[in-house]
């Protein structure tokens, strides 16, 4: 039986490709070759933004960890916040305003940069 199985499965049950097969493949290949190359990600342009974001994120993290470890608690914070959040965001109002200003400036800069590149591309 095994020999029979081998025999059946080894038999060359071949099909012949249709006459237009090669032409079909070559048409697809020519289309592929004629298509414009994919636009690479603009790393050079994106790097400053990414670097600024990374610095901002790390700064926020460092400040958060510092204030958490120093155990500062302020009474002016809303009681709904959990204790760990209170330690991060419950610092003085001047510091809060500073962070808000930084966030706004970063948003503004990123929007300006995006618009600048968008105008240049068009």
């Amino acid at each position: 039986m095994s020999d029979e199985l081998d025999q059946i499965l080894s038999e060359k049950d071949e099909i012949v490709p249709s006459s237009g097969f090669v032409q079909g493949v070559m048409d697809a290949v020519q289309r592929e070759a004629a298509a414009p190359a994919p636009i690479p990600f603009p790393w050079k342009h994106a790097l400053p933004g990414l670097a600024i974001s990374a610095v901002a994120f790390i700064s926020l993290l460092v400040v958060g960890i510092e204030s958490f470890s120093s155990g500062t608690r302020t009474a002016s914070v809303t009681p709904a916040l959990p204790p760990s959040w209170v330690s991060i965001f419950g610092t003085s109002k001047v510091q809060d305003a500073g962070w808000i200003a930084v966030a706004l400036v970063l948003s503004f800069v990123s929007i300006k940069i995006s618009m600048h590149f968008a105008q240049r591309e068009s």
Partner: protein, 194 residues
Amino acid sequence: MSAVEDQADAEQVLAGETAAFEGIVRRWQRPIVNLAYRFCQDRGRAEEMAQEAFLRAYRSLSQWRKEAIFSTWLFALATRMFCSELRRVPARMVSLGDVAELRDQGAADGGLEDQDRERVVRRSVVALPARYREAIILFYFHEMDVAAAAQSLGLPEGTVKARLSRGRELLRSKLSTLLGAPAGEGTLVRRGVP
């Protein structure tokens, strides 16, 4: 000879002469279409799959390291594509349960014709779980050469042998009446296959 021609054509294509790819397609269309056909048992789909395999070969020609001969690389690429395509959209075929039904019907009618029997066997292969199906298709496509099948599948030879053995056990158990011997009888011993 074809290895030299393949290399020359590949170099021309990489140099920007797209038309040189036609030589590669002409030389390999038949084996690639037939390999696809073994996977899906459908002529139209086999040609579509083969066309996609050639297109992928064209796109990734620069990744061909000339340590392996071109045909080995092309078969490995096509095999990976056919396997994933068949896993994504399985071939329209009879299930192993239906095979048993066909087999019993054939027995009741006084036996199946040779052609029908072959068709049932081939469809039974397509109905096998993917890992066994792929090993069996590649093994017989490469004329019972385990090393070539393993190379196309990108698997160690031992793994391919184990899958072949288990796949054929499954086939034997489903086709025992059809092939005229009790299940489990006989073991394939060819080119080092258990």
